[in-house]
Symmetry: C2
Subunit: 218 residues, 2 copies
């Protein structure tokens, strides 16, 4: 996991944890708000109040810094989902997907910058190793949801006249878009997800899940 192409130098690992966190935090903020290309190493150094040369003492180049930041994101998201979902072990398929969706909302609440970073990677074409990074997160819906879907289909919870991959696609699409709308208000088409109270938000989640359930079951 931490091979990192040895582009992250030892000097960085030798740093006190607090300073490392500061650096990653500043970097994720810059990358999330500007995107990879427009993000400026100068700006990150300025924000941190350190010399640019120092950053290049920690990381081989801009790309290495970015990849490290994204790496911390993926570990963060995996931990979050695992913690939030696997806790209560409901076997019901739709209860599970509902939990994943709620975990996503929770993640955005806790780490909005990281989610925005993810969106940038998703939709900026000139991000280094973009497909690889996207795949790392998508692995989620593929590897994680895949078997669960199949099982639910065999178990009779999901209709059988539809490709398993299509089920995953539909779930993934709805959940992804829901989260995007939550994180980026202009995407929700007037639903106002991001300003809803916890109660209203839960209702919205229920609405979506209900439609999916009715559409996917039988």
């Amino acid at each position: 996991m931490n091979i990192m192409n040895n582009t992250v130098k030892n000097t960085f690992h030798n740093l006190p944890e607090q300073k490392r966190d500061m650096i990653v935090q500043a970097a994720v903020k810059e990358f999330a708000s500007k995107g990879y290309q427009k993000a400026s190493v100068n700006a990150i150094a300025r924000e941190l109040g350190i010399a640019k040369g120092s950053l290049y003492q920690y990381f081989a180049n801009k790309e290495a810094l970015f990849l490290h930041v994204f790496e911390t994101f993926t570990t963060l998201v995996r931990e979050s989902v695992k913690k939030r979902v696997s806790s209560a072990g409901g076997r019901d398929f739709f209860i599970l997907t509902r939990k994943v969706l709620m975990a996503g909302i929770d993640f955005i609440d806790r780490h909005p910058e990281y989610f925005q970073l993810y969106l940038r990677v998703l939709f900026e074409l000139d991000v280094p190793r973009r497909e690889e990074l996207v795949a790392k997160v998508r692995l989620f819906s593929g590897e994680y949801f895949g078997p669960i879907c199949e099982q639910a289909q065999k178990g009779g919870q999901i209709r059988k006249d539809i490709q398993p991959q299509m089920v995953i696609f539909i779930l993934d699409a709805m959940m992804d878009r829901f989260l995007q709308a939550y994180a980026e208000p202009y995407l929700d088409g007037g639903l106002g997800l991001s300003v809803k109270s916890g109660r209203e938000l839960a209702d919205a989640v229920d609405s979506v899940m209900q439609v999916l359930q009715d559409g996917l079951s039988v």
Copy 2:
């Protein structure tokens, strides 16, 4: 419609149509493949084989060029949908949405660069007047789908225990993602939409629409 902030200069309108098309074509290609910020006016001029100064004789600045390009996109998409959808006048709600989806696929087939441009505007935060531009296209789902949804809800085609805006959101989300997956294969989670034959593609559309219909009706 063509007020354009007078940032498009007369010299451009005076150009022979063929040359204007060439310029727009080169610009959309550059903006679509690089995104607004990284797109280079130099590169566009180079591609066209004309001097950069000429471009600035046609447009006040990079932003004006970009806005003009996007303008041609919006008119293009409106024409396409209108032509494709309004022709056969089925009143059935789900048949209509299916037609809109097929029109989207058709548009991507015909103008892949324009669709990619749209995706960039959608997901790059530092595009000039981004929200305004997105709204122009979203108007589609809002103004166009809105009344249709309400009517379908009153007419009993769509369940009434769900907010009309939520119906629009769900439709919009699914269709948008479907088209994105069709245009950008890495988004489809292994479905392989973009390489499907016409028959298989139609089947995929049917699958999605069937789930939506079953989920939204009653």
